[in-house]
Amino acid sequence: MNPRVLPAHPMSRRQMLGLMGAGSVAMVGTAACGGGSVGGGNDDEPAGNTSGGGGGGPIKVGLVIPQAGIYTPLGIDMQNAWELWLEQNDGMLGGYTVETVIADEGEGPDTGVPAIQGVLQNDQVDVLVGIVNSATALGAADAVTEAQKVLIISNAGAAAITGEASSPYIWRSSFVNAQVVVPMAEYLAANDIGPVYVMSADYAAGQEVVAGFIAAFEAANGTIAGQVLTPFMTTSDFQPFLSGIQSSGAAATFVFYAGGEAVSFVQQYAQFGLKDSIPLYGSGFLTEGGVLNGQQDAAIGVRTSLHYSTEIDNENNAAFVEAYQGAYDALPTCYAVQTWDAANVLNRALAQAPDLSGDAISEALGGLGEIEDSPRGPWSFNGQTPEQNFYLREVVEGDGGLINSVVEDLGVYAQP
């Protein structure tokens, strides 16, 4: 309904130099080798090391992320991480000089699918990265498969993307909706938390999360005190649903909300006095990124499960958080890490693939094995989507504001 206006994207000097550099290298490559896509067959090049420069020439990557609409903050994090990775790696992926084409995904498939088709057809990109919205990812699956180009989804969490609607060309560096909450369900059941009330926004992702949580929780002999799905995007007063929690006799509440709804819910949960009597648990997106600024003190003590936290204790994460903070004056989010890792796996796969065809890159992605240097900890592709560690996180007051501290490593989980 809203007319979409692209926010201004001032090009930094660094970006400008990067693009100019890409142009000149590409020209040299063409002149010297008489073709842009010859090299890259540097099989013995250690993965992750791009300094050798496989002589691969240019590669065009389409970064399709939301630049307008409610998901814009996620798009910014994703673009930041992508640019940071390129900057730290001389603008190269697997020996190829990267030219990034950014397209606006918007809020839903009505804008997202044409954006993907646009970069495939008009810009003739070699690889696609991005996609926040699951409906967009599913809607574009056919176009991507037909074009035989690799798409690395760096957010959208619908199970079907790497499940019943999977494509050999579509990979995911993020998570699966239910995968995020199964570890939490098993943790709560193992700790005899008591009856749990389950709440979520009423849309595809929310339904997947609720179904996944309830199935895992009941399988581990947990009791569901009650559940309700609240109208998506039209609920700003949660009071009517909060009284349902109180009267259900629940010992804990588990919810899935994101963005503005996460802010309102967490605040009202505290205002109506539930936070002190019935502890609040959630999927990690409840307290991830910018929403913490809106929730403030109401979020302190809220526990969530996610595959990332800025507080994960490993060297790669420390270096990543420091570099990200230095560059953007903000803490990275899981959306940033997912895109960072998309660049990481592309880098490895391109260094091994004999050419830039979708089949070659897909095959190389399938043979990557463990990605040992991710800020989220080691992970690997299993069914084209990460098998990774999940962490129990608790919101605490940090030095520069609220952070998600890591309480416990919940173990490794694959797509349920």
Partner: protein, 296 residues
Amino acid sequence: MIVDWFDANLVSILNGFAIGSLLFILAVGLSIVFGMMDVLNLAHGALYLVGAYLGYQFAGDTSSWAGFLTALGTAALVGLLAGGVLSTMTEPLARRPHLDQALLTLGVALVVAELLAIFYGNDVLRVVAPPGLNGSTKVFGDTYPTYRLALIGIGALIAVAVYVVVERTTVGALVRASVADREMVSAVGVDNRRVKLAVLGVGSSLAALAGVLGGPINGAGPGLDERVLILALVVVVIGGLGSIKGAFVGALLIGQVESLGRALVPDLASFVLFGALALVLIVRPRGLFGAPKAAV
């Protein structure tokens, strides 16, 4: 038995009054402007949004009375001015169908909402209630946000003020006279356009005030304008056009439907609002307090 039921649902009922109060402040302006001045102002929701962002601007970081009152004062002023602009813009359309006014004001609303989104970004921003109202209070053993209790009082005050002005003062008589017979009012030497200007100004001002007052509950963010506009239109339709009593009763009714109704049948949460609207339209198409001629 009934006591138990009340005890269990006390918070929801109380909350219904708080939401209803906010809805009244929002909808009464729309009702007067449409019902009395015959201007269908779909920019009403955008004015609420402007108020909400003013709330964030002056009272978004810390809890302070100075910030909150500044936001209220600025919102009242901005609302008055915006009402004046809207009145001027809709003047050439006065003799044309409502659809033309709707298109114009909807266009204004879209532009304003988009400008706000560009300026403030797409995150939902918060507005902090002033000190003293920022916490929670025990009401018969249940915890309830103090600010929402205060909102019930503010809504009642504004209701009384609007009622007294329209029903008991000369200015109010002039407004009512303009509604009853516009030609006769101009015949006795009163400029109709000035009455319209004043009514739109005050109505818009109330919408912007509602935006600040609703800030601690709804925050400020994209899409809020459309949500509140629909609620306000529902209140006006249920209460009846141009009736202050109707807007008051309609707002309280919708407040309860949105609060108690959703609490009692959470699975039908999306439908209770429009279910109530449909019921009123079937039983009494002109609204609960609408004048028969207003039923168009």
